[in-house]
Symmetry: C2
Subunit: 455 residues, 2 copies
């Protein structure tokens, strides 16, 4: 039933757009702002600046603090109001040395990186036999204690998709695999990177050990290295690995959100929150994850601001510490969850073009949705029948039931780069980045000025 | 004048191929052997084995020695005659730690790798201001002494091309840039990698210091890092770099060539030498450089051997120590240069398809050339008007005037991978590798059995 409904409503919206201009008061402005944004250079300037002048900015480190100061200066220079840092404290983790080497039956170094929250091997490293599992299910099926003294290796391979739908299931190897292996007595675990490229650059990301399970050394191999290790294992002889990982847990440290606003003319009309995250993993310069996202939302908000005061306040959240547990989004909700948010949106899936929009709006906001869908259609963006779900930094607000719209980016090559050293500025296509700004500008222009309720 | 001659001769060859079968006694066999080789699995097996069981095999190290033993076992198991190692001694160089970090005005790590023959910064590293040069010509133009205490940075960018023609001129930055910078008093030098990719994987390769010029620390930045450094420099403030490189020169060590043969039926007809190199750089597993090359020549030679004894001896040379100065090729020439070589060929440009053939043959071998060109045309391979030039391992024989044929591979993506950690098995397309074997099989079948002289 969803598809017919979807197509009928889209057809109605398109008919309205072409036949009933009087119903679409905000549309002409939105269209003009949208098209001007296709030449946007603000977002590029932000991404270029943050990746060049700050670079890697792991949560709760001095680099993330430098990034906050940089962000405040940048947002003030763009003319936003109420630019501020809101700090909070959080547990921290820091990468140390990382080396892996097959020592039996062959002798080869492997490209490896520790997962966030990995335990340490100690400075002398760990030498152990590999226990191989093709899938997470195979690891889960291993008998209790059967991994004693071994290094588990799980090679489950994710494939690329436009909607990134492989990440939720395959990413579980990273998220819960280490805790499962530890609970079964493993001395350590290496996984095939949760990625879709073929480069010697492993992909990091957080893992989480269940309460009562002591962290073991946990690392990702680059995909060519994981495949090499698989080939070694296929020869049928025991394979021994030397693993050296020396991450540290420096305890509670300071992190923070950066907030800025385009004040609305009608204080009762509520806040539209647009978010991305300022922190990044430490391996790359965090260009696609998530300098692009924070740049897109700020560039679109600036375009609305420069076009005249909108009805609703647009609040920009450049959240801290998303990568390591979404601490910034939780701190924001604790401080601001009681305020009147009427729409929340997040950009955190790279810098390639928006191809699809998801909505979660009340029935009374249907005309707004239709105007937005019409404005997006001109950019080649289709409406999805799936509900909008937001992102990690706005998750508490989404869970509280606030309206949400997702502008979903093309994720076909996102996991080639995600959480690896290869997340750098050169991967961003300025034209696709500007298309994002245009889509966000269209949505914000319509939503911030709509007479109808959004929530 | 070359083009008309070329087209006319090709037309004659094609006419001969279709109209005069009696003139082409060897051709039917060559075509059948060629087409069977399109299903070749021997070459893949060699590349897969060497990259999985040995991996990196830097010249004059224990890993190169392991590779020689592996090679002898593999060539014997394939049934070749006179399989042997011929050792020689040579100066050696070993990579140490390598780190680079911008410390002023920003703070970012850069992906870096030492060039072969680089000097050491010592264990404490070197901190110095960058002196930026867009091109090698700009570095050459710098006044004597103007680099005193600085780290030179040259960012000359090579572009990809099918024939790899960018490597000779742009590679000069790596080959002679460090010696030029050292002579002008530089404390160190970093260059943009001689590569065509956009990954955080720097490309190594040998540099050479002129006699009387003491080696300085010399390294390549990955291309995204070189571009990041350029963006920092464009901001107009002094940029300071911390560079740590601790390579060593362990003195004279043993290296060696591996040789195998398909004995010919007519000892007076001379030797056809087919070569590639067994050593690799230490960053990748040396799949495209040059496991592919040694695999292609051996797979083709085995196919000729299995089809019955050829008239001429085919000698396989898996040379040692090509990457660091072609010591293996020189040692081979010193030991065997006096023997009757009638044709020399080398495969050392990756594993992508052969698209063009170059020839340097005497006029009396024109019918052989025409039969070869005809057999290659079926594989989509065109004849070049440029003379064949061989490769580094056969260069002394080429310089001595021996006949040579080049089967030139498509190099469009070769320098994405070349001399970087990304030179691994996953980059090889089995179908293109087999096309190489088919081309070599066709050439060897015709040349080894030709009644005409080749030289
Ligand atoms: Zn993110
Ligand atoms: Zn992320
Ligand atoms: Zn080579
Ligand atoms: Zn090479």
């Amino acid at each position: 039933m969803q598809k017919p409904t979807f197509f009928r409503s889209t057809a109605l919206a398109l008919a309205a757009a072409f036949l009933c201009p009087s119903a679409l008061l905000a549309a002409p402005d939105a269209a003009a702002l949208r098209d001007a944004a296709l030449k946007d250079e603000i977002a590029w300037d932000i991404v270029e600046g943050l990746t060049t002048e700050i670079g890697p900015r792991l949560a709760a480190t001095p680099k993330e603090a430098q990034a906050r100061d940089w962000a405040v200066a940048k947002l003030r220079s763009l003319g936003f109001a109420n630019v501020r840092i809101e700090t909070y404290r959080m547990p921290s983790w820091e990468r140390g040395r990382e080396e892996a080497r097959v020592v039996v039956p062959f002798d080869q170094p492997l490209a490896v990186t520790a997962l966030g929250n990995s335990g340490s091997t100690g400075p002398d490293g760990l030498k152990a036999e590999i226990a191989y599992f093709r899938t997470l299910a195979d690891l889960e099926a291993a008998p209790q204690g059967s991994l004693k003294g071994k290094i588990a290796f799980v090679s489950h391979a994710m494939k690329a998709s436009q909607d990134g739908s492989g990440y939720a299931p395959y990413g579980q190897v990273r998220r819960i695999g280490p805790s499962i292996a530890a609970a079964k007595g493993a001395a350590g675990i290496v996984i095939r990177s949760i990625g879709t490229d073929s480069h010697r650059l492993p992909h990091t990301g957080s893992t989480r050990f269940e309460p009562g399970v002591a962290p073991i050394p946990a690392a990702a191999l680059s995909i060519p290295d994981a495949e090499n290790l698989e080939r070694m294992l296929k020869r049928g002889r025991p394979v021994r690995l030397r693993l050296l990982l020396t991450p540290r847990f420096p305890g509670e440290q300071e992190s923070g959100n950066v907030i800025a606003e385009v004040p609305g003319s009608d204080p009762g009309a509520g806040i539209i929150l647009v978010a991305g995250h300022l922190d990044s993993w430490d391996l790359g310069t965090g260009a696609i994850d998530d300098a692009a996202g924070i740049a897109i939302v700020a560039a679109a908000a600036k375009r609305i601001m420069d076009a005249g005061r909108p009805r609703r306040t647009i609040r920009i959240l450049w959240a801290g510490a998303e990568e390591v547990g979404a601490y910034g989004g939780q701190a924001y909700f604790a401080a601001h969850g009681h305020e009147k948010h009427v729409l929340v949106m997040e950009s955190d899936f790279g810098a390639d073009r928006v191809w699809r929009a998801h909505y979660r709006l009340p029935a009374a906001a249907r005309p707004v949705r239709d105007r937005i869908a019409s404005a997006l259609a001109d950019l080649g963006i289709v409406s999805s029948a799936l509900p909008a779900r937001g992102g990690a930094d706005i998750e508490p607000l989404v869970n509280a039931g606030i309206s949400v719209i997702d502008l979903q980016q093309d994720g076909t090559r996102y996991f080639d780069l995600h959480h690896s050293a290869d997340d750098t500025l050169d991967k961003i296509d300025p034209a696709q980045l500007a298309q994002n700004v245009a889509a966000w500008t269209a949505v914000l222009s319509i939503a911030a000025n709509a007479k109808e309720i959004l929530h």
